[in-house]
Amino acid sequence: MGDSQYSFSLTTFSPSGKLVQIEHALTAVGSGQTSLGIKAANGVVIATEKKLPSILVDETSVQKIQSLTPNIGVVYSGMGPDSRVLVRKSRKQAEQYYRLYKEPIPVTQLVRETATVMQEFTQSGGVRPFGVSLLVAGYDDKGPQLYQVDPSGSYFSWKASAMGKNVSNAKAFLEKRYTEGVELDDAVHTAILTLKEGFEGQITGKNIEIGVIGSDRIFRVLSSSEVEDYLQEVE
């Protein structure tokens, strides 16, 4: 990876034992648009703000929530271009697993492989860490799962989590609202209310994105009209 001239790691330890490049990457994530995920009893929902730089941008050309496999989806906070690289690598890893084992990749394994890629970029020569945190939502034989992966490559399983600009308020809101065994529909409502908490301006079906996966194990991104329907139910 990288030219031989840069065969040394750019992410090195500081005298106090910190990896400052990773901390800076987390700062970059913290200035990204808010996103969150909630694990329900029968599915997972992930959602994000989709604020575009100008009304001239064609919002149909932008989709922040992506599927990695038919039963696993991902949303990010931070630098969009970096997330595209990770989505592409993860999709390829999922396909390679399927080709070898003729079975869809379990969620934990895909998360682990994606996290490994992110860790490699904190140690390899001539590269910088990824400026994104990912929320991976999936449904496999172990049931619904939600994982968060950070620029350092560490990952945890969450019942509900948030990232980006409004992370502290969003997490506080989720801690209050989360109940074990919540239904997917209610989780979507909670997700919308959490996004609404820190939202600047009027929330519509066009400036947020929601992805869901239920017991049918099919991950899909809701259309803007479906999001509008949920927004009306929440009013």
Partner: protein
């Protein structure tokens, strides 16, 4: 105490600054502005038009060789704003990629696929220390088989979006303000309206009236799908129409 700014290297190569920013990418954006040229792109109902200033710094230069508007294939055009040398490299690689795509998959490379490819390449330069980001903002135009006329803009950070109208270069923000007002109610411009909106936006923002030889205009139209660079006579027609209208 932790080292503050990565030993000062965060301004020389693309590693994070303490605020989580990439200075090299931000400087690349500044290089695009410093080139002193403004470009505009407008998408209409069945056509897309891009316009840029043609600055020939020396009268002894062969004007036909000074261009920032490049055909990538018969159906895709690319308008580069920024450092000319970086633009030519990008165009060369894009032409190669589009040709290989056609050969490999048997159909023409769609606009958004080319835009994504350029943006992904730009992202690599923001993450690997051995190559600096390119000082170019690229506007790609073409007619998509399913979605109709498309205008994409790719920047040094690796972002790319589809646009109804957009701008790049020295007077980018003023042009975007002008275009936002024009496109507010989602107008469906005809071909002539598209071209004239783009040219008059440039004239208004730079506050000068152009001669046909001082601007470059590129278009794609739904009817024939081919990317065309307008000749000075065709540009003159539009300029006349604009001045008669005002």
């Amino acid at each position: 105490m932790s080292r503050g700014s990565g030993g000062g290297y965060d301004r020389h190569i693309t590693i994070f600054s303490p605020e989580g920013r990439l200075y090299q990418v931000e400087y690349a954006f500044k290089a695009v502005k410093a080139a002193g040229v403004t470009s505009i792109g407008v998408r209409g109902k069945d056509s897309v038009c891009v316009v840029t200033q043609k600055k020939v710094p020396d009268k002894l230069l062969d004007q036909t060789s000074v261009t920032l508007l490049f055909p990538i294939t018969k159906y895709l055009g690319l308008l580069a704003t920024g450092i000319t040398a970086d633009a030519r490299t990008l165009v060369q690689q894009a032409r190669n990629e589009a040709a290989e795509f056609r050969f490999r998959y048997g159909y023409e490379m769609p606009v958004d696929v080319l835009a994504r490819w350029i943006a992904d390449k730009s992202q690599v330069y923001t993450q690997h220390a051995y190559m600096r980001p390119l000082g170019v903002v690229a506007m790609i135009l073409g007619i998509d088989e399913e979605k109709g006329p498309q205008l994409f803009k790719c920047d040094p950070a690796g972002h790319f979006f589809g646009h109804k109208a957009t701008s790049a270069g020295g007077k980018e923000q003023e042009a975007i303000n002008f275009l936002e007002k024009k496109m507010k109610n989602d107008p469906k411009f005809t071909y002539d309206e598209t071209v004239q909106t783009a040219i008059s936006a440039l004239q208004s923002v730079l506050q000068e009236d152009f001669k046909a030889s001082e601007i470059e205009v590129g278009v794609v139209r739904e009817e024939d799908k081919l990317f065309k660079v307008l000749s000075t006579d065709e540009i003159d027609e539009h300029l006349t129409a604009i001045s008669e209208r005002d």
